[in-house]
Structures are given as structure tokens and as C-alpha cells.
């Protein structure tokens, strides 16, 4: 009983994340890559994404604080973040990178700072939601439920 309830909650939560544009189909692809040989693959990749994003956001914050802003360097960081977020399906983070690159090209510091705020916000949102999702997953597995959640998600 409890397992079914947990799985239903997981499904509803995931569906909402897709509906609200936090995640896109690439996130589902991650689950398709996961198998018995590496049952923690999704969690590992997402953890890498968290570490990588935090590092990039810190670098961006520092770079925008410089007396002379190096827009090329900033653009390179944003390009990285856009790539990573796209690769794990973090749709809103990816989208927040797009205007950021435009402001880099226009060498607009204020615009960049606003974009950085937006990126930080979106990142923190998805981080919290994914951590909640993985917590739910852990509970499902602990209660003896299916780890092959991709079937549920598709």
C-alpha cells in the first residue's frame, strides 16, 4: 500500500515538474541510461551538475565583480552552464542562460548581473525540487518499490 502511494506521489511530483517547465525530456533520457550495472547513475550525474553549476555560478559572481569585466570569460562560463543544464534536462536553468549570453555579447554588465540573479534563482529551485524527488525515490526503494521508474515516467 505504502509503496504505491509513494510511487503515485513520485509520479505526480515529476509530472508537475515537467508541466511547469522545470524539467524536459532530456531528464527522462537520463533514466533510460540508468541500469542495474549503475543504479545510481541519475543521482550521480545530477550531483555532478550541482557541483559544476555552483562552481560556475561562483566564477560568474566573481567575474562580474571585477573592475574590468571580461565578457568573453563570462560568456564561456554561461555556455558551460547552458550545456550542462541542457544535458540533464534542467529546462528553466538552460533558458535563463540564453538572455545572459546576449548581454555578454552586448557587454552589458547590469544586464548580466540581472541574468545571474535569475540563473541563481532557477538553479536553487531545481536543486531543491530534484533533492526532494531523489528523497522520494530513496523511500520507494527502501519500501521495496520499483527502481525502474523510467517506465512510470514515460
Amino acid at each position: 500500500m505504502e509503496v504505491n502511494q509513494l510511487q503515485r506521489t513520485f509520479l505526480e511530483y515529476t509530472a508537475a515538474l515537467f508541466r511547469e517547465g522545470f524539467l524536459d525530456s532530456q531528464f527522462t533520457q537520463l533514466y533510460q541510461l540508468q541500469d542495474e550495472s549503475n543504479p545510481k547513475f541519475v543521482v550521480e550525474v545530477v550531483s555532478l551538475f550541482f557541483d559544476d553549476s555552483e562552481r560556475l555560478i561562483n566564477d560568474l559572481t566573481r567575474a562580474l565583480d571585477e573592475p574590468i569585466v571580461d565578457f568573453k570569460k563570462i560568456d564561456a562560463h554561461v555556455h558551460q552552464l547552458k550545456g550542462s543544464s541542457s544535458s540533464i534536462g534542467a529546462h528553466r536553468v538552460k533558458n535563463s542562460c540564453l538572455p545572459f549570453r546576449d548581454f555578454c555579447e552586448a557587454q552589458n554588465t547590469d544586464g548580466c548581473l540581472r541574468c545571474l540573479q535569475q540563473v541563481k534563482q532557477e538553479y536553487l529551485l531545481i536543486k531543491n525540487k530534484l533533492e526532494d524527488l531523489f528523497q522520494l525515490e530513496k523511500q520507494i526503494v527502501a519500501a521495496g518499490g520499483s527502481t525502474n521508474l523510467v517506465e512510470w515516467m514515460l
Binding site: 533520457q29 541510461l33 555532478l48 559544476d52 550545456g83 550542462s84 544535458s87
Partner: protein
Amino acid sequence: MDAASGVSSIEGIMEEPHVLAVDDNLIDRKLVEKLLRNSSCKVTTAENGLRALEYLGLGGGDRQSSVNDNASKVNLIITDYCMPGMTGYELLKKIKESSNMKDVPVVIVSSENVPTRINKCLEEGAQMFMLKPLKYSDVKKLRCQLMQCRG
């Protein structure tokens, strides 16, 4: 190209193609590696063009490619286009300039769909251009292409 390396290449492709995947993004490297391993490929990753060339025995400023075990085993090279230092396009050129690696198919991947970029790569001899992030269907397509290459 001597018969011995030809035969081992065909066997390699039939069983487990050895792919060299080049990408400066750690997450993308991890993803492409899993995707390829799940598709019965042997995978070596490199984080930039220089490391890739070193692996293939083409690095270190040598104009003459040194005899290198790694190079003869690689059946396919997949490289990201946008990389700091040496771009995927520049890496493609270096590979096509080398006498013993020029026949190895090189696939360029990019998150951006830029027609001029695509044409440039294809003209330089890239086997294919694909959009990131790669999916299973992309890898399937690649394996078919590889078989046709040799067949």
C-alpha cells in the same frame, strides 16, 4: 593501410567499436560515455583536443605520427565543436591531416544548430554532424554508418 589493421578494425566494429569521445564538459563526457557503453562500445574520453591528439599519438608537435597502439584501435571519434583552445573543427583537421588516422570517421557534435558550422565540418571530412545531447537513436545511426563505411 595494411591488411592486418583493416581486419582488426572490422572485427572491432562488429563486436565492440572503440570510440574516442572528446568534450570539455564533464557532464557531457559522463553522459556520452554511458550512452556508448550501454550501446556495446568501448569508450575512451578526452577533455580537450590536445589530450585527444596525445591519445592518438598525434600530439607533442610531432609532424610524423608515432606508431601508437591506441590509434589503431579507435574506430570512431566523437568530438564536441565548442571547446576552449582547440575546437572540434581544428581537431578534425589535425586528424584528417594525419596519415594513419585520416580514415577514422569523425563525428562533430554541438548544442548549436549553425548551418555554416555544419557545412564547414562536413567539407573538412566529418562523417556526420549531430546535435547535443545525444540519444540512443543517434548512437544507433552512428553504428549503422560505421558498418556501411567498412562494408
